[in-house]
Amino acid sequence: MPSLGRMPSQDNPDDRIALLQGTLDLLILKTLVLGSRHGQGIARSIQRQSEEVFFVDHGSLYLALQRLEDKKWISAKWGVSENNRKARFYSLTAKGRQQLVEKTSEWQRLTRAMGLILDGRPSSEEV
């Protein structure tokens, strides 16, 4: 996502982008495609995969998880992590998987449109 912001510099946290409303849900769903994870793992994964652009507010993350769980897009159960810590693991439900597909295409249409307006060309070559 080259045009979403400046390249980050690890040392200046101000350069990290606070997530837009709704995008967090999408990212969580995407993270869970590969299998179940606990909250901390999801946060790490999002930060890492966005090349540390995104700053995940952990309070918001857990509320988002709760929200998705209430909507039955994800399910949760307590388990044990690789290093033997007790943790609550989240995994995608069938409904969540379907939502992920829908939200992804929605998002791509949005970014394409934004790119057209801001740069005069589609923002993402893959689209």
Partner: protein, 875 residues
């Protein structure tokens, strides 16, 4: 959908595990354990906030808040008991006014026939001219034909109610009972609790079956709730009946507000009242008819169908249907038969007045709340600046107000349990089986709660919005610098006071109009002199006298009572004026040709010798009845002037003949007009006939005496019992007391409206006092400065007073406009006074002005006596 929610503990656990996982990972990236923990916490942000947000997401929060608000509200209210108690009492009065009237409406208009099913599907059916005091409109034969041919009703029932006497025991008992059609209980949906209904008498309806259904009260009182009563015999008017059923508790027949205690088949008419002719005669109208509509049929369709059927009957039997024959119907709540016909006009108006009173009480409490919110500015400002949302503050204030209103509602309910039973207080002791009364049941309870909640909202919402609209900074600053930035700037408070004065003016005007109407009614000339007349009611039927014996008894009684010391004259009647006891008959005046469908029904009284002399009705021409107007003399009658003028205009009525009660009678006297039904009616045409030429067993003895009539009770009673020791006198009263039944409804309206007006006056005065006193107190500083600058005590006094009068003036103008616009709806309820009666308006305006002045006087004097030095120093 119900979903088990996650607990806050579980969430905290998850966050704890997050810290551990993150610390593990950081440690594995090479940080020290301590540093890793610290970083994990920092990265996460504020865990407390996250948990709080989780907690806020769950829906239980509002409930926790509410509990908290209620606790806080109670603490706040306890802290200021004078405010709290004044507010509670004010609202309680307003709410009680409404719940009282509602309890009356609930048990009269909303429950016109207690104990039946489907009240809303039932309609009463009227034939002929509409009137407030209709006679029963149907003959048995017409009723039977209509019942058999109608398709609009699941059933039509008929009844005729009157007094009956239970005989055959030592203690004859007179009570109200009804002759009913065989389907009576089935159409009403009333199932006897013992035995059966009268349905099985259907094949023999016209000839009659000697069976009776007892009322629950009668069964309990007279028969000790005997469970094996069925099959036993009861003697009614000397004729034996088999008891076949007992009606359920609460059922009292079909006439609103009148209690029947006994039901027997309609065919028994001749055995009960010796009127064997009625059931066979198509032209004798004596039955009231009610119908239960078929599902999907509305009363208009039913009316149309009945009119069609009635037209056929009129064509078939024109001689029996000479008067108007239009059929109309009414829902039970305003049925023309029974008490509701009077209450259905009065009670809704009183409820409207009660609502105005409640609005006034709300305005008062709103003012109190405004004053209080100014005193609480600091508290509210601090809470706002601590981050409470405005919405939370409004909610908090509304909860406080809700507590006040609920407390007021509770107090009002307590009051209502007492006032609900207040209606009978307006009725004189009467032998009419009136049951109109209110009671507190579940509906009244619910209504009171609803009214209380409404009250809370109406009185609280403006002050709460206003109180919470302050900006914390300015409020705190304001508070710190001066206390004068308060309510006197508030247009809201001023507006409320103006509104209060306007509303109380409206209530006072209504009260004034009702009271003046009652006065002019009571001062109106009834056409007789009700003072110093003793009345005794009795019924000769249970004595078993023949007609000749009865007349002989009457003569003896009249002679003996007349000879008692202090008795001036004495007579008999089959009615007493203004107590709903006069009858009416179809009559035919000689030489008068009725218009098509003209009603020839006229009030008819049977009276003894010297009737006019005893009640002191002026004789215009001719003579009074004498002792010799009996069977041996020619049939005679006396008419009143209204009758003579209407049917024989410009002619001499003396010597004319009229046909009434089965005979042609010669007019021997013309009496002055009098009022016999209600004082508010114009005098109606009247025919009097000698009781000895007709004879009714139900009689009223009139005794004109010197001094207090009731003191003659025992000697009259002794005299009568000297003639027949078994004859029960079931009511001893005076003519003036007895006629109070005729204006009970006007007295209810005047008393209720009057007390509402008084309360309104007090509330308005308190309101004005509160606002002016508070504003003056707030301006102590300013007044101090003015006085220091040379203003005299008189100027200050005048200024504060002027402020109060300013409110009063605006309120009066507004109130007068509202009153002029609204009082016209009282037109039908007023007698002898116009709806825009200037005297009432002026008196009320002056009264309110004086009250406002007095309310302003105290604070004005206090302001004038301010010591400027001290006032300035207190700042």
């Amino acid at each position: 959908m119900f979903r088990r929610r996650r607990s806050a503990d579980d969430f905290a656990e998850e966050i704890k595990s997050h810290f551990e996982l993150e610390a593990d990972e950081l440690q594995s990236e090479g940080l020290s354990e301590e540093e890793a923990r610290r970083r994990a916490r920092v990265e996460f942000g504020n865990a407390q906030t996250a948990q709080e947000r989780f907690y806020l997401r769950s829906r239980i929060v509002w409930f926790d808040n509410l509990l908290h608000d209620i606790k806080f509200a109670i603490r706040q209210l306890m802290r200021n008991p004078s405010f709290t108690s004044v507010a509670i009492v004010t609202l309680a009065l307003g709410i009680a006014a409404n719940s009282t009237i509602f309890s009356w409406i609930n048990s009269t208009l909303l429950d016109p026939i207690p104990g039946i099913e489907h009240t809303s599907d039932m309609i009463t059916i009227m034939r002929g001219e509409r009137s407030e005091h209709p006679t029963p409109p149907f003959s048995y034969l017409d009723f039977a034909d209509l019942r058999d041919s109608t398709r609009s009703f699941t059933g039509l029932l008929a009844y005729h109610d009157d007094y009956m006497t239970i005989t055959g025991s030592d203690k004859p008992e007179r009570l109200y009972g009804a002759l009913v059609s065989s389907n009576y209980f089935e159409v009403l949906g009333v199932r006897p609790i013992l035995g059966r209904s009268l349905e099985s008498t259907a094949p023999n309806e016209r000839l009659g079956t000697a069976e009776a259904v007892l009322g629950h009260g009668l069964w309990q009182k007279r028969f000790g709730a005997d469970p094996s009563i069925i099959g036993k015999t009861i003697q009614i008017n000397l004729h034996p009946y088999e008891i076949v059923g007992v009606a359920p508790e609460g059922f009292q027949g079909c006439k609103s507000g009148i209690r029947s205690e006994l039901w027997i088949p309609v065919g028994m008419d001749s055995q009960v009242w010796g009127e064997g002719r009625r059931i066979k005669d198509r032209g004798t109208f004596w039955l009231n008819v009610l119908g239960k509509l078929k599902p999907g049929v509305d009363h208009r369709q039913a009316e149309t169908e009945l009119n069609l059927l009635m037209r056929h009957l009129v064509e078939q039997f024109p001689d029996a249907h000479q008067g108007p024959n239009m059929i109309s119907s009414d829902p039970l709540w305003r049925s023309p038969f029974g008490v509701n016909v009077y209450l259905s006009g009065t009670l809704p108006v009183l409820l409207a007045l009660a609502l105005v009173l409640l609005l006034l009480a709300c305005a008062n409490v709103a003012n109190l709340l405004l004053v209080r919110s100014v005193a609480r500015r600091r508290e509210l400002a601090i809470r706002l600046s601590m981050g409470a949302s405005r919405w939370r503050l409004v909610l908090q204030l509304m909860v406080e107000n809700g507590m006040i209103a609920m407390a007021g509602g509770g107090l009002a309910l307590l009051l209502t349990t007492w006032t609900a039973h207040g209606m009978p207080a307006f009725l004189p002791t009467t032998n009419l089986p009136l049951t109109m009364n209110g009671s507190v049941d579940r509906t009244v309870l619910l209504a009171t709660i609803m009214i209380s909640l409404l009250t809370a909202a109406v009185s609280g919402v403006l002050p709460a919005l206003r109180a919470s609209s302050l900006s914390p900074m300015s409020a705190l600053k304001d508070e710190a610098l001066s206390i004068s930035g308060g309510i006197h700037k508030s247009r809201l408070a001023g507006g409320l006071v103006v509104g209060q004065i306007a509303l109380s003016l409206l209530l006072l005007v209504c009260a004034g109009l009702f009271v003046r109407s009652l006065q002019s009614e009571q001062n109106s000339n009834p056409g007789f002199d009700p003072n110093h007349v003793f009345l005794a009611y009795f019924d000769l039927r249970p004595t078993g006298y023949s007609r000749a014996q009865g007349i002989a008894f009457d003569r003896q009684m009249l002679t003996r009572v007349k000879s008692l010391p202090g008795v001036q004259s004495v007579t008999l009647g089959d009615f007493s004026p203004l107590s709903f006891t006069i009858h009416s008959n179809i009559f035919e005046p000689e030489g008068y040709v009725p218009g098509k469908n003209e009603s020839m029904e006229v009030d008819r009284g049977e009276v003894g010798p010297e009737y006019l002399q005893t009640v002191r009705t002026a004789l215009i021409e001719g003579r009074d009845f004498t002792d010799s107007d009996d069977d041996r003399a020619r049939p005679v009658s006396i008419v009143n002037k209204a009758l003579a003028d209407r049917y024989w205009p410009g002619q001499n009525a003396i010597g004319k003949r009229l046909h009434i009660a089965g005979r042609w009678r010669t007019v021997v006297g013309v009496a002055a007009n009098g009022k016999y039904r209600r004082l508010v009616y114009d005098p109606a045409p009247l025919v009097l006939i000698p009781i000895f030429q007709s004879y009714q067993t139900f009689q009223v003895l009139y005794v004109r005496v010197a001094g207090d009539p009731l003191s003659y009770g025992s000697s009259v009673e002794r005299t009568i019992h000297g003639l027949n020791s078994d004859l029960p006198l079931f009511s001893e009263t005076t003519l003036s007391a007895n006629m109070r039944i005729g204006n009970a409804f006007e007295r209810i309206a005047a008393a209720v409206a009057g007390s509402f007006g008084l309360l309104a006056l007090i509330l308005a005065a308190i309101g004005v006092y509160g606002v002016v006193a508070y504003a003056t107190k707030q301006r102590t500083h300013e007044i101090g400065i003015r006085m220091a600058l040379g203003a005299g005590k008189r100027d200050i006094f005048r200024q504060v007073l002027g402020r109060g009068l300013h409110f009063a003036g605006l309120g009066l103008v507004l109130g007068l406009m509202i009153s002029f616009a609204l009082t016209r709806y009282l037109r039908g309820m007023l007698y002898g006074v116009g709806t825009a009666d200037w005297l009432t308006f002026v008196m009320v305006a002056i009264l309110l002005c004086v009250a406002t002045l007095i309310a302003c006087f105290v604070p004005a004097r206090r302001a004038a006596s301010i010591d400027p030095m001290q006032a300035l120093r207190t700042e």
